[in-house]
Homo-oligomer: 274 residues x 2
C-alpha cells in the first residue's frame, strides 16, 4: 500500500504582457490542470511583471509559504527583459554562473535547427545559460532556452519558458514525473452536470447537504446565465482527490446521484456533461 | 494643464476553479486590459482558492503594498464557498452587517426578473447583502450579487462578481470612472509588428537600442514559432503610457520607424499589425 502525500504547488507567472492584459494567462490554467490531474494541489498563482525587484520579492514570499513545488513561467529567454534567473539568484542569495551544460544545450539546439549555417553564441544567446549557482539546466525539447531546476529549503523550484509550447514540453518531459513521485499515486476524479430551471441561490442548500454527506467530494457551481426561456442555466463541477481510486470513484458516483435527485426535486432539469 | 497621476492596481482573483485549472482567468486579463487602456498600471495579479484564511491573508498582503486600487473578482455569490466579503471583513478587522441598500438591490433584482412569482429572500439570498461594516454596495446591472466598495488606508477596494458578464458590467458602470479620475487623463498607446526571418536572440540588441533612444516606449517580443519555411516568426508589441497624448503618439511613431529599419537591416520581413 502506498502512502498519501500532498504535493502543494505555487505558480509564478512572469511577464508585462500579462499585467497589460493583452495576453491571457493560459500557461497558468494549463499547468494547474496538469498538476491537479497528477494529484497535486495548486494553492496560489501569482503574476508579476518583468521587473527584477518584483520577481525576486514574489519568489521570497512563495518560499516563506513552503510549497513542495514552485513553478515559474516566463522570463528565461534572450531579451533584456527576461530576468527570472537573475531574480531567482537574488531571492536565493546565490550567484549567477555561465553553466557549461546549459551552453552545450543551447549550442546543440542551434546546430540541430540550422544544420549548415553557423550560429555564433552571442551575448543574448549565452544569457540563456546564465543560471543560479546551485541550479541545474533542463533540456528544452522544442526551443532554445533551457529550463532550470533548483532546490531551496522545502521547495523544489522549476523555471519554465513563457512560450506555451516550450513550457508544456518541459512539463511533460520532467515535471509530470516529479509530481507523480511526490504525490505517491494520488488521483483526481471529476464530473460535470448542467442544471436548468433552478437559481444558484436555491441550489446552495442542496450542494451544502451533498458535500456534508459525501465527505471529500467538492462541488462548485458556475452560473451560465439565463436562457431565452427565462430559466437560469448552471453548470456544476464535482471533484475529489484521493489515494484510493476505487473509493474516490464510488464517492463521486454516490454524490452525483444524490445531487441529481435533489436538483430534480427542486424542479431542475439535469444533464450529465461528463 | 492636468497633472500626471499614477494609478497602481492589484487584482485578486478568487475561486477554486482557477487553481484546479478548469477555468482560464479571462476576468484578470479583461480587467487588466481595461485598467491599462484607462492609463492605470496593474502591478500584480494574485489568484487564491475559496478559502477564508487564504483570501484574507492575500488581501492583507496587497494592502501592505499600498496600491491605489484593489479589484477582487469572485466569491460574492450565494453559495457556501462564496466567502470574499467575510474574508475582507476579517482582513480589515471590521464586522459584517446586513446592508439595507444591498437587500433592496437584491429584492429589486428578483422583482424585475420574476415579475409575477414571489421570490422569498432566503438565507443564501440574504447572504449576498452581508457586507463589511464600512463598505458600500454597488448596483449589479446584470446579476443578483451587488458589488462592494470599501476604503482601507491608501487603497480603494472593489469586489466584483466572478461571472464575467457581471464583472464587466460593474466595471464599465463604476470602476472605469474611478480609474479615469485617478489617472487624471493618462493615455495608453500601442502598436503591434510581426517580423519574420530573424531569431529572438538576434532581435534583442535592436530592441534594447530603440528603447534607450525613445525613452518611455516599452517593447516586448513574443516568439510565435517557426514557419514551414524554417524562418522564425516573432510578434513585437510597442507601448507607451503618458499624460501627453500627442507626444506619446509621436514617440511611438518614431520608435516604430526606427525599429522597423533595424529589423529590415537584420534581414527581417516586417509587417505592421496595428
Amino acid at each position: 500500500m502506498s502512502t498519501a502525500l500532498t504535493c502543494t504547488v505555487e505558480l509564478l507567472s512572469i511577464g508585462n504582457e500579462l499585467l497589460l492584459g493583452n495576453t491571457v494567462n493560459t500557461n497558468a490554467s494549463w499547468v494547474a490542470e496538469q498538476v491537479t490531474e497528477l494529484g497535486g494541489e495548486v494553492t496560489r498563482i501569482t503574476t508579476v511583471g518583468d521587473n527584477l525587484e518584483e520577481i525576486s520579492t514574489a519568489i521570497r514570499e512563495v518560499l516563506r509559504r513552503k510549497p513542495a513545488l514552485l513553478i515559474t513561467t516566463g522570463g528565461i529567454g534572450p531579451t533584456f527583459d527576461d530576468m527570472t534567473l537573475r531574480a531567482l539568484a537574488k531571492a536565493l542569495r546565490v550567484g549567477l554562473r555561465l553553466n557549461e551544460s546549459a551552453v552545450s544545450m543551447i549550442r546543440e539546439h542551434y546546430a540541430r535547427r540550422f544544420q549548415k549555417r553557423r550560429v555564433p553564441l552571442t551575448k543574448p544567446r549565452l544569457k540563456m545559460a546564465l543560471i543560479p549557482d546551485t541550479g541545474t539546466p533542463i533540456r528544452n525539447p522544442v526551443g532554445t532556452a533551457p529550463g532550470v531546476r533548483i532546490r531551496s529549503g522545502a521547495t523544489d523550484i522549476f523555471c519554465l519558458p513563457g512560450v506555451p509550447k516550450e513550457a508544456k514540453a518541459i512539463f511533460r518531459q520532467t515535471l509530470s514525473k516529479v509530481i507523480r513521485a511526490k504525490t505517491g499515486g494520488m488521483t483526481f476524479a471529476e464530473k460535470w452536470f448542467k442544471v436548468k430551471g433552478v437559481m444558484e441561490s436555491s441550489l446552495a442548500p442542496a450542494i451544502d447537504k451533498v458535500m456534508r454527506t459525501w465527505r471529500g467530494v467538492y462541488i462548485k457551481s458556475h452560473p451560465r446565465g439565463i436562457e431565452a426561456s427565462g430559466r437560469p442555466s448552471i453548470e456544476l463541477h464535482l471533484s475529489i482527490s484521493s489515494l484510493n481510486t476505487r473509493n474516490a470513484r464510488k464517492l463521486l458516483q454516490n454524490a452525483s446521484q444524490d445531487l441529481a435527485r435533489r436538483l430534480t426535486a427542486l424542479g431542475g432539469r439535469v444533464t450529465h456533461l461528463s
